[in-house]
């Protein structure tokens, strides 16, 4: 493996940012190439001597590199705080944990918000359309840069799970175990449909300005907020919305016969939308949802999932949630059955949880136990041959 000479910059002290692809452009699925790109990432724990304890954590659509610890931008906890840390399921006392902001996102890695080095102005829609495979391709460059030959594990939920599966298919010698959670092997028509609603909301906002809002004083906040509201409904279950809000009214005794947020659920969704626009870039939302829509791991294999997974040496541990109607158990089972059909090592659990797709981000001891058991058992096989 060749390691390029790259410069590391500190991005406001929040995370490491490395510029990659200078000597070796990253050519994308679309055919376009990025002759240099930035990846912002965080690491926790210590890489061991033989570099066999590295775990890559992949984030979901609106996630970032701040998987654990405090997110310096929002001031809140990272997005997987109960899973990653000293003594937790992904134990940073044992493992070297890496989480990078995906290509196309807006938390320090190259994306539509960042400067195009060729024009010295933000990319906007000049940023090439990317795919999940391209996000993973950029992560491979980061792993090269960190001089790690093989990841002990790649783990992620939702879009993070798609990256996990892409890793296992495209780079199967560089990953030992794969843990896709609440995810799928291809985006369904329903998934694409929801994303299209979100994108149309953004592009219908007059402030969007064909993606060049950075040249104005305004941002397409209304559009992005509606996109987030619609998406947020898909992350929850009917049951969790009912138990959380029911038909309860928001700070009022009776209906107002107007279009204020009479119901708590409306107020909640509006808050979700408004708080999202402060931390996320509207163009990035377009790019990343597009990458997810294009995702179909079988596409390169004439539509055969079996062919995509054939001969994989990667050991899988797949999880789904009973109440997840966005990425259903059935979709995970299709993947499990295909892996069994090709003789791969795969474990699968459907976890009983009523919180919908977002269950994977919540306190879920069952999920934590399975991950820690799976990783510990694999580490045991790795480390020594002792049985007991």
């Amino acid at each position: 493996m060749t390691v390029e000479k790259n410069k590391i910059e500190m991005d406001d002290g929040f995370s490491e940012v490395v510029t990659l692809g200078i000597d070796d452009p990253l050519c994308l699925t679309s055919g376009e190439c990025l002759s240099s790109f930035k990846i912002a990432y965080k690491c926790w724990g210590t890489l061991n001597g033989d570099k066999s304890n590295a775990i890559l954590v992949c984030h979901a659509l609106t996630g970032d590199q701040y998987a654990c610890g405090q997110n310096p931008i929002t001031g809140k906890e990272g997005w997987w705080p109960k899973l990653i840390g000293p003594g937790l399921a992904i134990d940073t006392d044992k493992y070297f944990v890496i989480c990078s902001n995906v290509l196309g996102s807006c938390s320090g890695s190259s994306g539509p918000k960042e400067m195009n080095p060729e024009t010295n102005e933000p990319y906007g829609l000049d940023f090439p359309v990317i795919t999940i495979a391209d996000m993973v391709g950029a992560q491979v460059r980061l792993i090269d840069y960190l001089e790690i030959d093989q990841l002990f594990s790649v783990i992620g939920g939702s879009m993070g799970g798609m990256q996990v599966i892409q890793w296992a298919v495209d780079h199967n010698t560089r990953v030992k175990t794969a843990i896709p959670i609440a995810s799928t092997w291809r985006h369904s028509a329903q998934n694409i449909a929801f994303h299209e609603v979100g994108r149309q909301a953004i592009m219908a906002d007059p402030n969007w300005q064909n993606g060049r809002y950075f040249e104005t004083k305004n941002r397409p906040k209304a559009g992005l907020s509606v996109a987030r509201m619609a998406a947020h409904i898909t992350y929850m279950s009917e049951k969790s919305l009912t138990s959380k809000f029911g038909r309860n009214l928001q700070d009022r005794e009776k209906l107002t016969f107007g279009f204020d947020a009479d119901f708590q659920v409306e107020s909640y969704l509006r808050y979700q939308g408004i708080s999202f626009v402060d931390r996320f870039d509207a163009n990035s939302y377009l790019y990343i949802t597009r990458a997810m829509d294009y995702y179909d791991i079988s596409a390169e294999f004439d539509g055969s999932l079996l062919a995509a997974l054939d001969n994989t040496p990667v050991k899988f541990c797949i999880m789904s949630f009973t109440s997840d109607w966005l990425y259903t158990t059935e979709e995970s089972r299709e993947m499990v059955r295909a892996l069994n059909a090709v003789g791969a090592q795969v474990s699968f659990v459907e976890i009983e949880m009523d919180k919908g797709h977002d269950s994977f981000l919540l306190e879920c001891p069952e999920m934590f136990n399975i991950i820690s058991g799976f990783l510990a058992a694999e580490a045991r096989f790795d480390g020594s041959n002792s049985d007991e």
């Binding site: 541990c317 474990s347 459907e350 799976f374």
Partner: protein
């Protein structure tokens, strides 16, 4: 279905499971249908270097199996087994689970589709205590190892050893070996099916289509 929890050492598996393990040659490809906490698969992998896979209904059992480093999928056995390719395994194990299947005949066919041989164990309802219980008390028996009342038991298809042998005959399944076990799970000395059907509390059969 899985009584043998807390098996920290691989050598500590239940005696009836040990009987099954002893029938499996080194290096075989094995599927355990209803593998519980994975104790048998764990033992087989460590002692006989088998390629071990499992199907288990309870998430708790899958979690325990995964913690042992086993590849086990959670799901309904009768549904999940249909998704495995033909002749994928050398041995398929169905231990103490046949009576809980909605169609025992179909599952036997499936076991022998995905595996060259199947090892099936089941409680024997032809046992004299069961016969006596029904004759004298006139109620469905509730035993220590099968302690469910008739209306809520998951064990919906009890059979006798003779029933099992007859079913194999009907399905053109060849019985390679048949063993009667006593209540401790140990092998009984006699090999006669008629005696087993009266005295054994469990039947253990190796079947094949070859």
């Amino acid at each position: 279905m899985n009584e043998g929890h807390n098996t920290h050492r691989a050598s500590d598996i239940r005696i009836d499971l040990l009987l099954i393990a002893n029938m499996i040659p080194e290096g075989s490809r094995v599927l355990d249908v209803g593998c519980g906490d994975g104790a048998l698969l764990d033992y087989l992998r460590k002692k006989k270097n088998v390629d071990a896979r499992g199907i288990e209904l309870s998430p708790e059992g899958v979690k325990d199996s995964v913690s042992k480093g086993l590849s086990v999928i959670q799901g309904n056995a009768e549904e999940e087994i249909t998704h495995f390719p033909d002749n994928r395994f050398d041995y398929v194990i169905l231990s103490q689970t046949l009576q809980a299947m909605s169609r025992p005949d179909k599952i036997l066919n499936e076991l022998l589709r995905v595996g060259k041989r199947a090892i099936v164990s089941f409680p024997n309802f032809g046992n004299w205590r069961v016969r006596l219980h029904i004759m004298l008390k006139g109620t469905m028996p509730v035993t220590k190892s099968l302690d469910y009342p008739w209306y809520s038991t998951p064990n919906i298809h009890f059979c006798t050893i003779r029933d099992f042998v007859d079913l194999c005959d009907e399905l053109d399944i060849k019985i390679e070996k048949g063993i009667g076990m006593d209540s401790s799970g140990s092998r009984m000395l006699f090999s006669s099916m008629i005696l087993s059907n009266i005295f054994a509390t469990q039947g253990l059969y190796v079947i094949t289509r070859d």
